[in-house]
Amino acid sequence: MGSIHVNHLGKAYKQYFTRWSRLAEWLRPFSGVRHHSNWILQDINFTVQPGEAVGIVGINGAGKSTLLKLITGTTQPTTGHVEITGSVAALLELGMGFHSDFTGRQNVFLTGQLLGLSAAEITELMPQIEDFAEIGDYIDQPLRVYSSGMQVRLAFSLATARRPDILIVDEALSVGDAYFQHKSFGRIREFRNAGTTLLIVSHDRQAIQSLCSRVILLDDGRVSKEGEPEAVLDYYNAMLATRQNQMVRQHEHEDGRVQTISGTAEAQIDDIGLYTAKGEKVKSVRVGEQVELRVHVVINADLPELVFGYQIRDRLGHVVYGTNTYYLDSRLTQLRRGERITYSFTFLANLGPESYSISSALHASNSHVIANYEWRDLSVVFNVVNIDSPAFVGTAWLPPHLECSRG
């Protein structure tokens, strides 16, 4: 149950030469083609196994939403086909079919039926929908008095009232306020653990990484990369910056992970490493130990501005901490070709025992999106070990001062 097979899927929209061309084509079917096809998606092939969670990423216009519409059956493919087993719920457009003059309850009934539930099922699910949406007495008020957040809460609760075999999510993870986001994300995670197959389109790296076991990168209507989330997302991240003449390289790191390096190479890292207070280069750090991130940069071309930034990421690629010299108020200007620069960041490794990596970036202004000289994932990989602190869990080291009194 809950598998998706996409076979040679393609979608083209017809563009007729003139306004009369369509009529001509309809009336004289054998007189030749009078339109050209505008391909949005071409030759897409992939399979999502039952219980798998797959993310789809890509820039705007890459064809992500069209792909989801083809999979849910709203739009018909031009070539190829989609095979689906199991029930599907789609969080594409929350609140579609709601009518503002009717109460939340009435809308749940009608829209629920539009989503394929029966009236009896909705009656049965109603308490749970109300409960999850947490909109209180508003459920019996007309929808026009709802805030947009309340509408979305109700829509989400309805759309996920019953656990589907396949859940398709398009950017719907960031619905409502922070509290509801956590709650809705929790529900999706719960579904996943219970065996629901997930297909998610999102620009939220964290969300994709924490849910998905595989990521598909769409570029210009084709699958440009597919594989393990970290590698594909790093590649995508690099690609985002690669709108000019940048190059993206990926190679296997010593621990078997894929390292991505991208950029225009006007500035490059010559050496980067983590050092102890005694000046030893290390791969293993004690919890709370003072360490230094030392970076040597070479300048390959005259540059107006240079900012260095780094992110410390946990095993799953979640960013634990990140900063750059722009935020630290020490960007450099007017750099000459051939100059060498050394950065030294000293900090306490207030991290939980786990494996971490550092991604580094050389760019202009406050982010790498506009001018990316070099983005390097897995620049440094290190472990934090707990030797002399009391045991704890998590990636942050926040030792409390404890006072406890009895009676």
Binding site: R22, L23, W26, G73, Q76, E93, G97, H99, Q113, L114
Partner: protein, 264 residues
Amino acid sequence: MNNMVSALWAYRGFVLGSVGREFQSKYRNSLLGAAWTILNPLAMVTVYTVIFSSVMRAKLPGMDDSFAYSIYLCSGVFTWGLFAEITGRGQNVFLENANLLKKLSFPRLCLPVIVVFNATLNFGIVFGLFLLFLLLTGRLPGLPLLGLIPVLMIQITFSIGLGITLGVLNVFFRDVGQFFVILLQFWFWFTPVVYPITIIPEHFRGLLMFNPMAPIIGAYQGILVNGRWPDWQSLLPVTLLSLLLCVLAIRLFRKRSGEMVDEL
């Protein structure tokens, strides 16, 4: 065909709910609420009956009854109204629900079905009041009243076929919608609804043969004014045409429904 019907059946809850919602939404937030559903048609029936019979003293040639013209008028106008509502709304149904069609996956035929149910419901209220009036004034025809049922069925089939065909075409060629509004005007005045057929000059009367609505409206008038069973033979061509239109509509819909979503 079979799976189209079963898909519709699976969504019956949605169809019925939508009919109810559309019906209710007209009178939502009004003080009198559901009373308007009666008041509006009641006004229409009153205007056509009282005004035409007493104030204007309009007479139907060859009939002594002062209400004859009113009954003649009502039986044509209300049934024509049903036809105009189904086709008129049918031709816009896909355009109006573009958002729903583009974003959700559900049997598309639900939409025209909702239109038909709604129009029939509205018609049922007006026509029910009209029949009530006939009952109260003792002018209810006897058994031939049952003849209304098959004639209505033919008319609705004709309207559905035409409505869906226009609805699909209108998505691709918006001219269809504009054109049909004009055509409907001419069509109405080319059908003996307001005037008796005898007004049409003899040598033009043959042209009515090509008007499929003429025998249908004529049948209603015959039943309600003269208490006469419909002339089934005259209804045969329009029955065949209705079935043909329905087949055409389904074929057109099947062939173009995928492309339709791209055009909306």
